[in-house]
């Protein structure tokens, strides 16, 4: 299992990342992926710029732990996580997760598992600029519930 984690300010190209993973591994039959992006509305307010802070060092370690957990649970070839930090604006990409496997069930489950854990364990924080000023985004109980269900 190959695990690649990147925390960066730069944007990413999902198509190119998937092509790179698939290149040279003809055993891959399934590629599940996810992109999270900035919406122009959150909690009913229009959002302009957004700033993403993280905890350098711990972030990468947590993401690697999350990927390792996924590979312990499902038979997968690759797990790739790219998470952006710094200033972002509506329509920007924030995060992508790509998982490859022989059959689709494993890649779907591992991809969603990684996203659910990332949302609750990886040390990233969003600050939004709204017409009412700047505000730190609150953690959502829904995300905790999404991560919790994998503990069954």
């Amino acid at each position: 299992m190959t695990c690649v984690v990147r925390v960066q300010e730069a944007d990413f190209d999902l198509g190119a990342e998937i092509r790179a993973l698939r290149l040279g591994n003809p055993r891959i039959g399934a590629v599940a992926s996810f992109i999270g992006c900035v919406r122009d509305m959150n909690e009913g307010d229009s959002v302009g710029l957004m700033y993403l802070e993280h905890y350098p060092g711990m972030t990468e370690r947590e993401l690697e732990k999350i990927c390792a957990e996924a590979s312990g649970r499902w038979d997968i070839f690759d797990a790739l996580v790219i998470h952006r930090v710094g200033e972002l604006k509506p329509l920007d990409q924030i995060v992508c997760v790509v998982v490859t496997s022989a059959h689709r069930g494993e890649s779907f489950s591992a991809c969603e598992f990684i996203m659910d854990y990332l949302k609750t364990r990886a040390p990233f924080w969003k600050r939004e600029s709204t017409p009412q000023g700047e505000r730190w985004v609150d953690a959502r109980a829904k995300d905790d519930a999404a991560a919790e269900r994998w503990k069954q």
Binding site: H83, I94, A139
Partner: protein, 89 residues
């Protein structure tokens, strides 16, 4: 003993500092430093520290970059980060 404190996101802004050294009473046979004793020492500074780190407030503590519970030991040289619940992705 000296530890290194790290504050992040909203707490970094509220405390006006992102990283600082902090002095805790040395450990003795009858006194072990834990996350709980560290938080008590921080609250004693009063002001925003007492307010934001009050019991029942939502924050997390990582010792040497692992999220831990209140009874986790804190040793000289540890990096102890205090931050709000995460909101990435």
């Amino acid at each position: 003993m000296t530890i290194q404190l790290v504050f992040l996101a909203r707490l970094r802004e509220r405390f006006g500092v992102s990283r600082e050294n902090f002095e805790l009473p040395a450990q003795t046979p009858t006194h072990t430093n834990t996350v709980a004793t560290l938080l008590a020492a921080l609250r004693e500074q009063g002001g925003v520290f007492a307010e934001e780190l009050a019991e029942g407030r939502a924050f997390r503590v990582a010792v040497n970059q692992d999220v831990v519970q209140l009874d986790h030991p804190v040793n000289a040289g540890d990096e102890v980060a205090i931050f709000p619940p995460v909101t990435g992705g």
